[in-house]
Symmetry: C2
Subunit: 345 residues, 2 copies
């Protein structure tokens, strides 16, 4: 029958203690005797008192939350990374809140680097302004990184991984190899292109035909259109795309125009998102240890929140996953035209 929200003074009165004691039970129970703690806890239960989180966090300078800034939630690449982070953070009593930097202005983003907003940040977007993110709360960079920010980075060796992917295509006998890039200026795009060029140069092969992209499905479809528009004899016989989402779009476009993967073009992706093992053909790709990236980033951040010195870079291993989308090039001049009619399944 109680209509007013119970206050801390109601709890104190019922338990026969001061409000300071109630507050200590809530914030630092180890300094209170077991008997007092029990009677205060019982009074909290009976009154239905609830802590005012904003007031408590103001006292503790602790929000209980970690914010992850993600460049584009619609890319399925991020889901398992976020799951890994959330699992580790939940184990330490922290919430993970995720914000999509696509949808936010710069001012909003900088606000998350305030200690009153989050106890720490995990930044997965390498294109944020370095200025605003400096030194306000512990920061860990994961996957991408921001030149000019001194913070631990949890990453893979993108250049080496791209080299491995392209070496596989060369090993199958491909000599004309295309590369579909991530967004211009992105650190991952640059490293994966560099690895592609290195692998080709090491074998004395010509540089790759480079097509633009932005990691998205639709940019992969456009790269497929661009590949189809080339004269058949100039088309790369194998294409390495800087994300699996782009590889899906590329394969879809090629198949819808009546050509087949890998018969007419071998396709190699990057990421190993869940979907690509279910596609036909199943995609050959570079597996990123996505859950481990999330877990390590969260562990690293928790250590910093706890006052430990930041770790250096953490570089996790990748793996070449060979499935059905790559094969040796067909040497007969089988490809004639993009008007070959619908794909036969």
């Amino acid at each position: 029958m109680q209509h007013q929200r119970p206050k801390i003074v109601d709890v104190a009165r019922l338990a026969g203690v001061s409000t300071a004691t109630v507050s200590r039970v809530l914030s630092n129970p180890d300094v209170v005797s077991a008997e007092t703690r029990r009677s205060v806890e019982e009074a909290i239960r009976q009154t239905g008192y609830r802590l005012n989180h904003a007031a408590r966090n103001l006292r503790h300078r602790r929000t209980g939350g970690v914010v992850a800034l993600v460049p584009n939630l619609s890319n399925p690449f991020f889901s398992q990374i976020l799951a890994g982070m959330a699992a580790v953070l939940a184990g330490a009593g922290y919430n993970l809140l995720i914000a999509d930097t696509c949808a936010m202005g710069g001012e909003t983003l900088l606000g998350y680097a305030e200690p009153s907003r989050a106890d720490g940040l995990i930044v997965l977007d390498g294109t944020l302004p370095a200025d605003g993110l400096k030194r306000r709360v512990p920061i860990v960079l994961a996957c991408e990184w921001i030149p000019g920010i001194e913070a631990p980075r949890v990453k893979i060796d993108n250049r080496a991984a791209a080299r491995v992917a392209v070496e596989h295509l060369i090993g199958l006998g491909h000599r004309r190899i295309g590369h579909v890039m991530g967004p211009p200026g992105n650190v991952l795009s640059e490293a994966r292109l560099a690895g592609t060029e290195q692998a080709l140069a090491a074998q004395g092969l010509p540089p790759p035909l480079v097509l633009p992209g932005d990691f998205s499905l639709d940019s992969g479809r456009l790269a497929g259109e661009a590949w189809l528009a080339l004269p058949a004899e100039q088309r790369p016989t194998a294409v390495f795309l800087a994300s699996d989402a782009m590889a899906c779009g590329f394969i879809g476009e090629v198949q819808h125009c009546g050509l087949a993967v890998p018969r007419d073009v071998s396709v190699m992706g990057f990421d190993d998102i869940e979907l690509v093992s279910h596609m036909t053909p199943a995609l050959s790709t570079i597996r990123q240890p996505r859950e481990a990236i999330g877990r390590r980033a969260a562990q690293c951040l928790l250590a910093m929140i706890g006052g430990e010195a930041p770790e250096g870079d953490i570089v996790l291993p990748t793996e070449l996953v060979l499935r059905a989308s790559t094969s040796p090039p067909v040497t007969t001049p089988a490809i004639k035209s993009r008007e070959a009619g619908p794909a036969r399944l």
Copy 2:
């Protein structure tokens, strides 16, 4: 050379005003003269003073944030809904923070319904406990809903949409129709099953062969296995799956075992996620107006935060999207065995 963090009193001293005036400039500038405002703003700039958000929000009982509780971020269904929400909220000066309910315990979830944590909640998970979410902050339910919570719901007519999907399959000539369900107990699963059964009953056809699922890619793959394990003459000639992700897993499994869609089985999905128009065959499905769902949910919540009475249910239209994965059944007994060898592309 300043080492201490500047305080509001430093700003007041430099501007020659009281701290109360500085506070008014920060929180309610319209009540301060233009001249005073300019001198305070200049002092803020010179000192580098920054507002303590936790303190300000405590005074205003306003966090500036809206939290969306999402059941599973790895389902690509949610990305466009969240983008629609974020766009509307950003326009009104609110941040959207997203939490994945998979990763959180019940206690954590209830915390978001405190006014000190968020100004409002948008709940996309129909399986949360109704008790904790009652009446602490404005709440809007989107897509799914929680029986026992009085809150506006932004949704589609799931039963009618499922009926339309199955009527299409019946119209093509299918008589043995399968349905792969969403997770048991989920309101969407129940409604889509009911629509399937209604469409069949209305034509005097036998009830559907029902296979279990949970909306995930992998549960669709398992449903594909179950379909393949049936004697060929008992296999449904068409299968309607309660999510596109499951349809992707189902088609992948069928194709990897050497059968073809739609020749050997017509497949119909639900959602119209971005990927399914790129697949081969492109998926026939029910399009949900995902961005509009997100926008309407955010608009509805902002109105409630602004003190308006909650709207009733908002039901948005769906659309039957016909692509290449559905066709009339093949009448010849073409399907012999699941050991038919790898798919020919």
